[in-house]
């Protein structure tokens, strides 16, 4: 066991129940876990299997070698410490900017520029002309820009009239 993991195990042992999956946030700020009490602690990253259709279920925990430590069906089934640690990581891994209003949509030669206000602040981004916003299962809209960043419009109907007008082209 490395020095890092011994330290991380010590963190995880606080309030740990023997046998089950344990997760905790290490001193280094990363998510650590072990599948059973006898396993070595490993730093893991979270991978949502259904980020849009079932965002709060089915989370794969993968280590540095991309091996699956565990598949969490429902995070709420975990103990409080593990759930809290997992939720912080899920928030980061699942983060996408939320569009609150649209200032302008400009068509250019091969790209389309959106100027928007997001929950995170104002942002301009570009999509390819043929990269249409994708409808989400819950009725929202997801836009992917040329760099790969994602922008969600959770409920287009709640946008202001001008934003809805600009978005009209892209929604059914």
């Amino acid at each position: 066991m490395t020095k890092a993991s011994s330290q991380a195990v010590a963190e995880g042992e606080k309030g740990a129940e023997p046998g089950g999956l344990r997760l905790w946030r290490g001193h280094d700020g990363r998510l650590w876990g072990r599948a059973t009490a006898s396993d070595d602690a490993r730093s893991v990253r979270v991978c949502r299997l259904f980020p849009w259709s079932q965002p709060s279920e089915y989370v794969s925990l993968r280590d540095a070698e991309d091996e699956e430590l565990a598949l969490v069906h429902r995070p709420e089934d975990l103990d409080a410490t593990s759930r809290e640690a997992l939720e912080v990581s899920l928030a980061e891994a699942g983060f996408v900017m939320q569009i609150e209003s649209i200032d302008a949509v400009e068509e250019e030669i091969e790209i389309r520029t959106f100027s928007v206000q997001t929950s995170q602040g104002p942002r301009s981004f570009q999509t390819e002309r043929d990269e249409w916003p994708q409808p989400l299962a819950g009725g929202g809209l997801l836009i992917r820009d040329v760099a790969g960043d994602l922008y969600a419009v959770p409920d287009p109907d709640t946008l202001d009239a001008r934003s809805r007008k600009l978005l009209w082209v892209f929604i059914d």
Binding site: Q7, R30, F95, E110, G121, P122, Q126, V146
Partner: protein, 777 residues
């Protein structure tokens, strides 16, 4: 494009398209360099998300000895926190949907040295920092090129790769485009004069009609002009109208013919210039741009410019003149009625423009839905076997039907809009005509002859001129769209024309006649970007006629080595020499004529087999072609084809199997007779029997040439004199097969063992077939 021009382009892209600085702000840089005790910032990136995942501006800067995190705060000294590079034990990138985290980890018992969060837009710049730190941890030093340049390149890349730069001034682009008319100025002048005459002659029939009424019809009816004289004048007038119409049509013909031919000539000139320029550009340009985008520039964009030059330039300018002229004439005839007609014109132009914008939006929506229909087609037609195998025909029919109905609804909405707009617009114009009538009737009739203030002839002239208002309003309404389309296309074309090849011959280059085939690498380093080196300090000497096998893991740098020999790219450090001369001093075209390539995915051009074999030597005799095909083991299968060597292979040779295409490409290389030959995985992805035939053909091809053969299947390297193992951009091992096998724990030995294991397990897994009694084969 030169490095300075490229940086300038990237900076403009960042300024125009993103909300972030195009370089590290001077104040922040000064603060960081103060913290670095005067050391310069070598590399930097922007962390645009804070710990709460809100948009923020924290700079991560790399110095020779330290890494700093800095942010500028209003009216205060920048806040800088730094730590030594030597304190980093690990750097880890944790990717997310839109937020990635870069962790700099130090001592295991300590908190992370830093965790920075950023969106994908910053990812390339952050990965550059991660790469340099990882290299340092591996004991390798990296000297990045100019920090501003690397940052701008990384941030601008997604937009730059997605489209042409549109940052330059639109009018400058239009003027540059019009300069292509210079060689045809005689034709332009003729076309413009024809168009001007056309406009003027259009005014003649209405004016003459009014004159006939006032000077012939009315006087004859009132008895003040004898009928014979009236008839004489009338026939002259009608003849003049007929002449004006005939002359007008002649001008229309001349204008259309001249300008259409002129536009076509300019489009041809642009296509030729563009294609010739593309041929000279370096491979790095083609790896950046999508093939479809380049094809569109040579085809559709030049076609759009034809439309603009042939019709747009003249139509738009003359429409403006026509509207101004008509307004002046109408106001001159009668200012009150003239104002009734002319005052609404700006409104009509604006309404037409707005209508165009609205139509664009509706069309865009319909286009989006249309792409959903074509998505199904491009999914299901190539995958029809799967659709049928899973019995999903009904589901696919329903999916298509739903989308087809959806797109039809959109197009119907589009038709509803334009079919409503034009009748309403025309109704408005007719309303103006009616208003003119309302104003004119009392003045034409009058209570008494003295009260008649408008002659019936002037009124008729007025009515006829009014009908000429609609066409120019329509054209002016579309002017913005026409100009926008033309500048867009021109931008895309000029972007290519302004790109300079990165591989350029020196003045008075050396010609090796003939090339002997001695290849030397002297401490060669190379990177596709300014940071990552894919070849690191490789040195070797290969004698003429030697066969070198290049092996190693994927991405290790094997293909890059061959690309540097062919001078598809220039080294960033060291030298590549052929026959003792630096390839940068050689005549590249002349050297490449003595260099051949057989690639993993052999590329055949649309055309006959014989044309493809002759590609490198167009004057080869048919006997030479057959000889080359025979040596390449292609002759026998070509004889089985109904059209023999005249068989058209289709686009990229898709009508032939992979092995057949490969043997034709070997025949092409044999006929080309190169002194240096590069074989890039030439026998991969073919069956054993075909591999044998190809290998046999290759054995003939490699004789007496210097050969660099990249191979994953080590069995194909049996003829290699020496084997170079290229791993992580370095020449990890080199020697003969036996020498390399003797290296305990060596990469080559490990690869051989792995392949033997794989072959053994495949043989073991192969089912043992028991002959069935009585069965015949």
């Amino acid at each position: 494009m030169s490095a300075a021009a490229s940086f300038d382009t990237d900076r403009k892209i960042i300024e125009r398209y993103t909300d972030q600085p195009a370089w590290l702000p001077a104040r922040v840089r000064a603060g960081i360099e103060e913290d670095f005790a005067g050391d310069p910032v070598q590399l930097y990136a922007l962390a645009d998300l804070d710990a709460s995942l809100n948009l923020a501006e924290t700079w991560v800067a790399l110095g020779p000895n330290r890494i700093a995190l800095a942010r500028d705060e209003d009216d205060a000294h920048p806040v800088v926190r730094s730590f030594p590079r030597t304190s980093i034990r690990e750097v880890r990138l944790e990717p997310g949907l839109s937020c990635s985290t870069l962790c700099f980890l130090g001592d295991p018992d300590e908190p992370a040295l830093a965790r920075v969060r950023f969106t994908h837009r910053q990812r390339r710049a952050m990965e550059n920092i991660q790469f340099v730190v990882e290299q340092q941890l591996d004991g390798r030093g990296v000297e990045p090129r100019d920090a501003d340049d690397v940052y701008a390149d990384a941030v601008a890349a997604p937009v730059r790769d997605a489209q042409a730069l549109v940052a330059s001034n639109d009018m400058a682009v239009i003027w540059r485009l019009l300069s292509y008319l210079q060689p045809y100025r005689g034709q332009v002048a003729f076309g413009m004069v024809s168009a001007a005459m056309l406009t003027l002659l259009s005014l003649v029939p209405p004016v003459l009609s009014g004159w006939i009424i006032d000077n012939v019809v009315n006087p004859v009816q009132q008895g003040s002009l004898p009928i014979d004289e009236g008839l004489r004048r009338a026939w002259w007038g009608v003849g003049a109208i007929a002449g004006a119409y005939a002359l007008r049509q002649a001008c229309a013909w001349a204008r259309l013919r001249w300008m259409a031919v002129l536009g076509e000539n300019v489009a041809r000139d642009l296509r030729t210039e563009l294609y010739e320029h593309l041929q000279g550009l370096s491979l790095s340009f083609f790896s950046r741009k999508k093939t479809g985008s380049l094809i569109t520039r040579v085809s559709s964009d030049t076609d759009r410019l034809w439309e603009f030059l042939a019709l747009g330039v003249v139509d738009v300018s003359l429409s403006v003149i026509q509207l101004v002229g008509l307004s002046a004439v109408l106001i001159t005839i009668d200012w009150k009625m003239g104002l009734v007609m002319t005052l609404p014109v700006p409104v009509l132009c604006w309404v037409t423009f707005q209508q165009g914008e609205r139509m664009n939006r509706i069309f865009l929506r319909a286009w989006r839905k249309w792409s959903r229909v074509t998505d199904i087609l491009s999914d299901t037609i190539p995958g029809m076997r799967i659709v049928k195998a899973f019995n999903q025909e009904e589901r696919e029919k329903q999916r298509f039907d739903a989308r087809n109905r959806d797109v039809t609804d959109e197009f119907n909405a589009l038709h509803r809009v334009w079919t409503t707009f034009w009748p309403i617009l025309m109704l408005f114009v007719r309303g103006m005509v009616v208003l003119v009538w309302v104003l004119a009737v009392p003045r034409v009739l009058g209570d008494s002859p003295a009260a008649v203030t408008l002659s019936s002839g002037d009124f008729v002239t007025f009515l006829l001129l009014m009908t000429m208002f609609i066409a120019p309003i329509d054209i002016i309404g579309q002017m913005a769209r026409i100009m926008n389309r033309a500048t867009s296309s021109a931008h895309r074309i000029f972007e290519v024309l302004d790109t300079q090849p990165q591989v350029v011959d020196q003045g008075d280059p050396v010609r090796l006649e003939p090339v002997q085939g001695r290849v030397e690498f002297r401490d060669v380093t190379f990177g596709y970007d300014g940071v990552r080196q894919v070849v690191r300090g490789i040195s070797f000497v290969v004698s003429p006629g030697e066969v070198i096998g290049l092996v190693g893991p994927s991405g290790g740098g094997k293909t890059t080595v061959t690309n540097l020999i062919a001078r598809f790219y220039d080294v960033t450090g060291g030298q590549v020499l052929i026959d003792g001369v630096d390839v940068r001093d050689l005549d590249t075209g002349h050297t490449r004529r003595q260099l051949g390539m057989v690639l993993q995915d052999p590329y055949l051009f649309h055309g006959s087999v014989v044309e493809n074999i002759r590609y490198g030597k167009s004057d080869a005799s048919l006997e030479e072609v057959i000889e080359a095909a025979t040596a390449a083991n292609a002759h026998d299968f070509l004889c089985k084809l109904p059209n023999g060597y005249d068989t058209i292979v289709g686009e990229r040779g898709h009508t032939l199997s992979g092995g057949e295409r490969q043997r034709i490409s070997i025949a092409r290389a044999i006929l080309h007779d190169p002194r240096i030959l590069i074989l890039d995985e030439a026998t991969s992805s073919v069956d054993t029997e075909t591999e044998y035939k190809i290998q046999e053909a290759l054995d003939r091809l490699v004789a007496d040439r210097t050969v660099f053969a990249i191979a994953h299947r080590l069995s194909t390297l049996r003829r290699a004199d020496r084997i170079f193992v290229v791993d992580e951009g370095r020449l990890a091992e080199h020697g003969t097969h036996q020498e390399l096998l003797a290296i305990e724990g060596g990469t080559y030995r490990r690869l051989c063992e792995l392949q033997q294991e794989l072959t053994g397990s495949r043989d073991a897994a192969r089912p043992k077939l028991t002959p069935i009694e009585g069965a015949t084969t």
